[in-house]
């Protein structure tokens, strides 16, 4: 639990090696993360706040922000609820194919977002399987809001479930069984026993899911069609501004998106700390002492 590297018994190297390693870590993070980030901010603020006010004054930017927020507002609650149900089912029920489903859950993480976007084109696109059906009913999925929502749902699907499965998969469910034998209903057991054990993990999963839902580029780019003011999300809008050669505007928009990222990074840190604390409680709880 000690975070101080110099006191770790695993580090036997002489002090100069340690100092060199720390310097390397700082340099690495500085060059690859801090420097680019700082230059974006510098570009954005090079003309003062006026770049931001001009940027926010354009209809396209406001529409991109609204679109990104509304996609996240639907995708995050949906994936949180279904992630919770999925995690409960996969950890509490034993059925053939359970392991396979657990593996499939990793698919959205392991395939390239561009491929994910293409999958949806193949299904919902004009020449896709459902294309003729959608056309005859005047429904638009690809190059429209439903398509953007669907790919976002796809790429952010595993976050909550992946976070909850290890927490719920406590091999034996002693506490839940004890509650059941004491006459607890399913709902009471979930609410009083299961939920308190997973709530910080759930929050952590939701934060990760939100960050990805707002930041996704590749999959969204494929199905968006990049119609400015209509189907451009904030990440796509940044790309469009950049293509226009409007570097300050692109940087300002990028720092807006980065701001959302920083907010989620901070809340992620808080959620992780709370989760760790409740984990410590679990480890000291009677059910897991040998």
């Amino acid at each position: 639990m000690n975070g101080n590297p110099s006191s770790s018994p695993l580090v036997m190297e002489p002090p100069w090696v340690r100092r060199a390693l720390i310097a390397f870590a700082c340099l690495h993070i500085g060059l690859l993360i801090v420097l680019p980030f700082a230059s974006v901010l510098w570009q954005a603020f090079s003309h003062g706040l006026s770049t931001f006010s001009q940027l926010l004054a354009t209809r396209d930017t406001r529409s991109a922000i609204a679109l990104t927020l509304s996609i996240a507002a639907i995708a995050v609650p949906v994936n949180s609820l279904f992630g919770l149900l999925l995690a409960w089912g996969l950890t509490h029920l034993r059925f053939p194919g359970r392991r396979f489903l657990l593996t499939l859950l990793d698919l959205p993480f392991s395939i390239s977002p561009v491929v994910a976007g293409l999958l949806f084109i193949l299904i919902f696109g004009n020449n896709g399987y459902l294309g003729p059906f959608l056309r005859s009913h005047h429904l638009k999925v690809i190059f429209a809001f439903p398509g953007l929502l669907l790919v976002t749902l796809f790429v952010t699907m595993p976050f909550v479930a992946k976070e909850l499965i290890p927490l719920m998969d406590d091999a034996d469910h002693d506490e839940e069984e004890a509650a059941r034998l004491l006459g607890g209903s399913w709902w009471r057991i979930f609410w009083k026993i299961t939920f308190p054990n997973i709530k910080w993990g759930l929050l952590y999963g939701i934060v990760l899911c939100t960050a990805r839902a707002m930041g996704e580029f590749g999959a969204v780019a494929v199905v968006s069609g990049s119609i400015r003011g209509r189907t451009n999300t904030l990440p796509l809008h940044i790309e469009a501004l950049f293509q226009d050669g409007d570097l300050p505007a692109a940087s300002a928009a990028a720092s807006l998106l980065a701001l959302l990222g920083i907010i989620s990074l901070v809340s992620r840190g808080i959620a992780a700390r709370l989760r760790k604390r409740s984990e410590a409680l679990r480890l000291s709880a009677p059910s897991s002492t040998p």
């Binding site: 002693d174 506490e175 034998l181 607890g184 026993i193 409680l281 709880a285």
Partner: protein, 324 residues
């Protein structure tokens, strides 16, 4: 409540854990399911509790099938090996859980719940810990809270899985005594699982010895200790010497062999290799024809005889126990 277990079988991923268990548990009895690790005793307890369905056979509670009835109807109190206390709830809320979970019509008022929980805390002599979390309790305290939690719902059967397994020796001794007394007060049919034969003999009225998914013997502690039906039971219940004598193999406990200074027709000679005091008895290690033999006698008997390491003594069996 009486429990009848009829030909219960259970397998887990190919391994046959229970192979046809038949057992009747009488109302008010204190029964021990005894056996080595992995013999299936915990599985049997979980099947009785309704936590697992048997593959074959049935469990009848008061003549009615236990399977399918709700926990409230069957009123089974189960204490888990590691207690399974609700880690996010105070001791008070842990004990109150079963009362709060009752259907609205039967649920006691808040004042009644308070009164009942306080009475139970008094029973387990832990009134002052009501507000603590389980993680702040010692092992023995957790154990007693787990018992109070199931007693809150007035169970008609109490099932305890290795109730003293995780406790240190002194606390274990106290809790055994305490459990015996509580059983005498409450008269609840109680079944507990243990791998410790001393614990089973000390606490229970009747022992069911299980080995490899089958019942080896059922009976009082005295029955199993003094009248085992096979070598396994004999060996599991306590130290036993296998003594080849006049073409027979006798299974004798250390105190069932006497040492004579001169040979008799039924004796066989042995050399003393070690002598040590074991509480109220003196224990002598001998070798007879290459076999190690342990003999126990009172300090008085030891003082009367002339025993020393290296000397020869003659083993005289005090009874004839052999298994065909």
């Amino acid at each position: 409540m009486s429990i009848i277990i009829n030909n219960v079988h259970k397998s887990y991923s190919g391994s046959h854990v229970l192979k046809g268990i038949n057992l009747t548990v009488n109302t008010g009895e204190l029964l021990a399911l005894l056996g080595p690790s992995g013999c299936g005793k915990t599985t049997l307890l979980r099947i009785i509790a309704g936590l697992e369905p048997p593959d074959e056979g049935e469990v009848l509670c008061n003549g009615l099938p236990a399977a399918g009835s709700s926990p409230q109807e069957s009123r089974i109190g189960f204490v888990f090996q590691h207690y399974a206390l609700f880690r996010h709830m105070s001791v008070f809320e842990n004990i109150a859980f079963g009362l709060r979970a009752k259907p609205r019509a039967q649920r006691p008022s808040e004042a009644q719940i308070r009164e009942k929980v306080e009475k139970l805390l008094e029973l387990i002599q832990l009134e002052w810990i009501a507000k603590r979390l389980p993680s702040e309790l010692s092992g023995g305290q957790r154990q007693r809270v787990a018992l109070a939690r199931v007693l809150a719902v007035d169970p008609s059967v109490l099932l305890l899985d290795e109730p003293f397994g995780a406790l240190d020796a002194k606390v274990r001794q106290e809790l055994r005594h305490w459990l015996r007394e509580r059983h005498a007060d409450l008269g609840v049919t109680t079944i507990f699982v243990t791998h410790d034969q001393e614990e089973a003999m000390e606490v229970s009225d009747r022992i069911v010895l299980i080995h490899d998914g089958k019942i080896e013997q059922t009976g009082s502690p005295d029955d199993l200790y003094n009248h085992p039906v096979n070598p396994f039971v004999c060996d599991f219940l306590g130290l036993v010497n296998m003594l080849p004598l006049h073409g027979k193999t006798l299974y004798l406990r250390p105190h069932e062999i006497a040492l004579e200074s001169a040979p008799l027709p039924e004796t066989c000679p042995a050399t003393i290799t070690a002598i040590r005091t074991a509480g109220p008895m003196v224990q002598l290690e001998l070798r007879a024809d290459g076999h190690p033999v342990t003999v126990a006698m009172t300090h008085e008997q030891f003082a009367k005889g002339d025993f020393a390491i290296g000397k020869t003594a003659h083993l005289r069996p005090l009874l004839e126990r052999e298994f065909g």
